[in-house]
Symmetry: C2
């Protein structure tokens, strides 16, 4: 049988309440008693039952991560791995466990979140995406549950969130290509309902406009954060009469798809097409050629999200003048894929 607080109490000749107080370091316990009880706990191999503790304290010391919809697909991106790594590392430092959950669609996600939060299985939630008009966010917000968004919301201003300045990041990426001498620059975007797609597209537009460069509609292609999207975008671009000499892709995975396609068609990177993309996942420097990428500090993003959430769980009253939006700095890593000046 598992040993409970009562067993320890009996053997130590004290009451259960005393044992409980020893456990929580209550001030009014004599040093002597405390030591005696601790020895006995050790002897008997006592481990507190978290469920019982949670039941009364209404606290679980765990948080949960909601993976975006097509968890099975999007999950194949190293982006999430890094994020999770950051979250798990920081959480365990704060003594919190991390639960991973996902749903096949927005409705399932909502059910899962509701079950976990209302069922008191977790204390808070980290959302790994930011969609437009998200029902999950509405639920969390109106229920007053602690949560943090990796990304930003289009509706609520006062939400706790950790994000990059994606507009600026895209601006930087595009300007890098422009400064290398490119004038015809394409853009491969992500799903339009994701805020990050829109932000990056906006940054691209700003940069192009800023330098007075032409922006054709056909140079902007929508896709997913997947290789295939890159592959398709590539074949579309390369068949254009006056095709771009460079492109900005919304995610490194997309670049890999582009690379694969160009390779098949015997085009050279960066000579025939220069590429810059986002996220700087660990594989970016391993491809051939290595891909120039905006490092957005994924691990840091996750680490901070966890920190901010747990802090909010522990004292929810910290909106006194402090900001709710945390911006993680980005930085352009230039690699071979963009190191070429077009012959024009």
């Amino acid at each position: 049988m598992t040993v409970t607080i009562k067993d320890v109490a009996k053997k130590a000749g004290v009451s259960p309440s005393t044992v409980s107080r020893v456990l929580s370091g209550h001030p009014r316990i004599s040093l002597e008693t405390s030591r005696k009880v601790k020895v006995i706990m050790e002897e008997m191999g006592y481990t507190p039952n978290m469920m019982a503790k949670s039941l009364v304290s209404k606290t679980t010391n765990s948080i949960c991560i909601i993976l975006p919809k097509p968890a099975e697909e999007l999950f194949s991106n190293l982006f999430f791995m890094e994020l999770i790594r950051g979250i798990v590392t920081q959480s365990s430092r704060s003594g919190y466990d991390v639960l991973i959950s996902s749903g096949a669609n927005e409705k399932e996600e909502l059910e899962a979140v509701s079950r976990l939060l209302k069922g008191r299985r977790v204390d808070g939630v980290i959302l790994l995406y930011s969609r437009k008009d998200d029902a999950v966010i509405d639920f969390l917000q109106s229920g007053g549950y602690p949560f943090v968004l990796v990304g930003r919301s289009d509706r609520y201003e006062d939400i706790l969130s950790v994000d990059n300045d994606n507009i600026m990041a895209a601006y930087d990426a595009t300007n890098h290509l422009i400064s290398m001498g490119h004038e015809r620059i394409g853009f491969v975007s992500g799903p339009p309902n994701l805020i990050v797609s829109r932000d990056r597209l906006e940054g691209y537009r700003k940069a192009m406009q800023g330098k007075g460069l032409e922006m054709k509609d056909e140079w902007i292609v929508e896709g997913e954060f997947l290789q295939d999207s890159g592959y398709r975008a590539m074949s579309f671009f390369m068949n254009l009469p006056n095709r771009p000499t460079a492109l900005v892709a919304v995610d490194d995975m997309v670049s890999f798809g582009v690379l694969r396609g160009l390779n098949e068609l015997k085009y050279k990177v960066p000579e025939d097409l220069a590429i810059v993309s986002f996220n700087n996942i660990p594989l970016s420097e391993l491809s051939s050629p290595p891909i120039s990428s905006i490092d957005i500090g994924i691990y840091h993003l996750g680490y901070t999200a966890s920190q901010v959430l747990i802090q909010n769980i522990q004292k929810p009253d910290n909106q006194d003048g402090y900001t709710n939006r945390f911006v993680i700095p980005h930085r352009l890593i230039v690699r071979e894929s963009s190191m070429h000046t077009p012959g024009n």
Copy 2:
């Protein structure tokens, strides 16, 4: 306030036990009562408190996976990503939540596992590695806790485990090179305390001996599951007087390191050195040249592990004649890196 089973009971004019029984589909509840109660639960937005439920049922409907801390360093992240993806997918299908935990070292891992299991926070554990003489395994085994090993144990025969036939896989990889005409074949291994390293090395040996080929000690190099190890192994091999014409690497990441090194020295793959490695991570086909690799079905490995564990949790008495070791098939994917017959 949150609504409890008692609130529902009061409003429905029945006892709490009745509500509980409605919830669990007890047979001796009249259809009428059942319907009435369900309507009221819906109205009041009732969600069961998992903690209370777990406390009495001694069951949590969640499992946990232990990431080896060295995982972050030793393994290619994509491997774990895939594994986790498989686990989370299958677990959520079975209605289980997944908790992620890790420790900085074996002692910390043990503490975490003990806290989670003895503290009744999870019902079972998936270990994502198999080391020699593992204390965590000893703990789980002697405590009679449900767990499954991805990999295999060197000590216990009757442990639940999901693995590849790594010996055979390495045998196949090596034989592929032999059949291409290679006779001097090197091997880059992983840390010797990991069972997978040993198994693959053994398979390599078997294949070489099987064909009566010479095996020099200097053709076998130990490393980690990292690029750097490949880089180092490469420069060692290429400086050998009678150097190998091909090599088998224990992980794709190692191959990338080899590739990078060879590229720097202007050697050609596969002409100067043919390569085959393991795991077939998504990037394997993106490198130049694409790498021949043994696909070990990582996702499937994770999916099966979760399945087997949950089954064992739900009815622990299934060792009646059935095997405890599940072997996921592997398959050699031949790509450019090994498509060349040595001129000799």
